[in-house]
């Protein structure tokens, strides 16, 4: 059930811990990449594939929580499993609020870690799927000319050609030609389908007056 492309990133400053967790994950055939520090991880090429991050909270240099903050600012969709030697509830609450999958106290059982990893990977593939859709939708919409995009937005509000023409101060015939181009580029004819696509691409539908 493991996606062979999934990579599990492990960041812990303790050599022994890194070594043993890597072994554990490998026993379940996961691909593991381990790092000594947050800085070392950030030095790696940006990863767009699926996987998850096992992150020690108390790292030398940039801490685990700081790395989480940084990653939230990027488009990274890697779910984070925090591990820590210090049971610190406020810290774990903060981490989980910001979207961490789990917060594991060392020493943890193999099942705890592996199920957390599984959960994280599932979430990741879901997120990946979603983000792929968005990217596709955006790619399609990005093909429109600015004029076409303008008219596309009017269409989304459910306005008729006549209304659009008068609002843009152009002829109804011109609006028709642009709509035809839009239908041709997006491959979608119905207004309903257009709305769905725009939502997928994260474009808000302008409110109709």
């Amino acid at each position: 059930m493991n996606n062979i492309n999934d990579i599990i990133f492990l960041i812990d400053d303790d050599d022994s811990v890194r070594r043993s967790i890597t072994l554990l994950l490998k026993s379940e055939k996961y691909n593991v990449e381990s790092f000594k520090s947050a800085e070392e991880f950030l030095g790696r090429d940006a990863y767009t594939g699926t996987g998850c991050l096992i992150l020690d909270v108390n790292l030398e240099g940039k801490s685990g929580l700081e790395l989480q903050e940084d990653l939230l600012k990027t488009s990274s969709h890697l779910p984070i499993i925090f591990i820590t030697g210090k049971g610190d509830i406020p810290m774990s609450v903060q981490a989980l609020k910001k979207g961490a999958i789990n917060f594991l106290l060392k020493p943890f059982n193999d099942n705890q870690l592996l199920s957390a990893v599984e959960e994280a990977l599932e979430k990741c593939s879901f997120l990946k799927e979603k983000s792929d859709e968005i990217l596709n939708a955006r790619k399609i919409i990005e093909a429109l000319t600015p004029r076409e995009y303008e008219i596309f937005q009017y269409v989304l509000t459910g306005k008729l050609n006549k209304q659009i023409a008068s609002e843009l101060n152009i002829s109804e015939q011109t609006v028709k030609i642009h709509r035809g181009k839009i239908t041709e580029k997006l491959g979608i004819k119905s207004v309903a389908e257009l709305v769905r696509l725009s939502e997928r691409a994260g474009i808000k539908t302008p409110k109709s007056e």
């Binding site: 022994s16 811990v17 043993s20 554990l24 379940e28 030697g85 210090k86 020493p107 059982n109």
Partner: protein, 627 residues
Amino acid sequence: MHINLKNFKKVFFMCLISLLLSEFKPILAQQDEPKNILVIFSMNQGLVAYQLILENIKEVLREEYNIPFKLSVEYLDVGKFPDFSYQQFLFERINAKYKNTNLDLIICVGPSIIPLLENYAAQYLKEIPAISIDFRDPFDQNKSYSINSKTNTILVDVDAKSNFELAFKLFPKNNSVYVISGSAKVDKFLLKIVISASHKYEKSKKIHIWQDIPMDVLLAEAAQISEESIIIIPSFTLDSLGTTYNTAEVIRLISRKSNAPIFVLLDTPFDEGALGGYVSSMKYTGIKTGKTAIKIFSGVDPQSVIVDDVKVKKYMFDYKELKRFNLVNSEMIPENSIILNEEVDFIGKYKWFLVTGIVFIILQALLIINLIRLNKNQKLMTQQILESENRYRELVREDRLQHMAELTASLSHELIQPLTAILSSAQAGIRFINSNRSDNETIKEIFQNIVEDDQRAASVISSVRSMMKLEKREKERVDLNELIREVIKIFSGEAAKQEITIEVNLLERPLFISADSIQIQQVVLNFIFNAAHSMEDIESDNKLILINEILNDNSVTVQVQDYGKGIKEEIKEKIFKPFITTRSKGFGIGLAVSKSIIEAHNGKISAENNPDIGATFSFELKLWKDE
């Protein structure tokens, strides 16, 4: 007087000789014949008057006359037994008794003794020098008081008149006078004197004369005497029934029945109840007699001996009675009165003893108060010391607890890493085996990891344990310099290997401190190891460790200076906390242990980066008290 040198010399030598001989004086005195004295009393032995006379004669002779004397006494008791044949018998006995005694003096004490001697005494007795003592009889001018031409007469006058005057002066309001007398010849004689003096007052006062009464009747009657009366008792030696009494005894009995003041004519009855009077003193009669005897012994003609420095008549009062009649400090009491039985005025008599005593007591009390205060202060101080000690201990304990809490947190964190690793490795191993994908290499690697991680955990524990062991080590007087030199010797091998130069600047004289030398050496070694480690990556030419010693007022500071990496800014604050390290090896416990050691020695530890390069670690310890 002119004394020439020759005479002076003579006198001087005589004095010297007499001084030398003075040692033998008692022997010389003993060689003197004792003076034989015979005292004959005409009445019975129990009379107080006789006792007073006799005692005082002897006392004077003893005190004022240094020739020993032998005194014999005869009581004739003829007052009660006036029978002639008895008197004759008595003198036959006396005559025979003293026939072979060389009598030097006869003292005859009356009343009326001279006729007896004249009639019955042997001739030899009559020829001995004599002193005759008797009352002067104012009613018989021709009465003879001498037995021979060698008789000195001491006549005792009885002054009743002065007694009346005294009584009325002291008690002007007391109008009744009771004169109470016994039935003996001497009693009646004295009564007669009183009666003759009383005539003068017969008109102004009511005079009662009580005589020839049996004692029981007398006492019954006495009870009727009101306190506004005056009682005069001249003498009472025999009641009408023939019982012998003492005047003192009678006065005592009457005073118990009546509250009236009792006046007396003689000093014999002062015992209980007699207020006083202008008395003829038997005591002073005795004294006068003694002095007269001495003069006679010294060869003066007895008839011409006059002792006029002893007055027989005196105003005498009993203090208790004066007090009873509120007359103690009365101006009515004549000056020079003799007060008998004076209550010991304790405060007056022992004033200086009292003052001294009180002063002493006050001083002692002050001393005691001071001592108590001192003691209290000391207790307070001791308590304060104890309190501050306890406080100090508490602080130390709290500090240690804090330390322990930190240590425990660090320790658990330090142990969690290897424990996590061990658990994960072992579980990974199980999974590999279960998955049938295991190869020996992987399994071996896993076990290898487990062993290493376990060893790591164990070493964490042992390093903590070594830190715990710091406490309860004996401190002793050690030379800090000696101790540092030993450490450098220990490290010299390592220093050579790492190509480190160690430069030591120690004071030449020993610096004694109170310390556990092993622990202090541990600190120094730790500093040196840290210094060496910080210089691992620099060129060997620059590898230098400087050890300096700075002597303060009562402490010494040891600095270990290196030229290495210095202390990282982020760990500067917590460099002495456990498990803080920048090294790949070790657990960062060395400096924490060092801190514990120095603090256990009441010292200070510090770490600072040098202005240019490297860091300096130092500790400061108190010098041995006498240093």
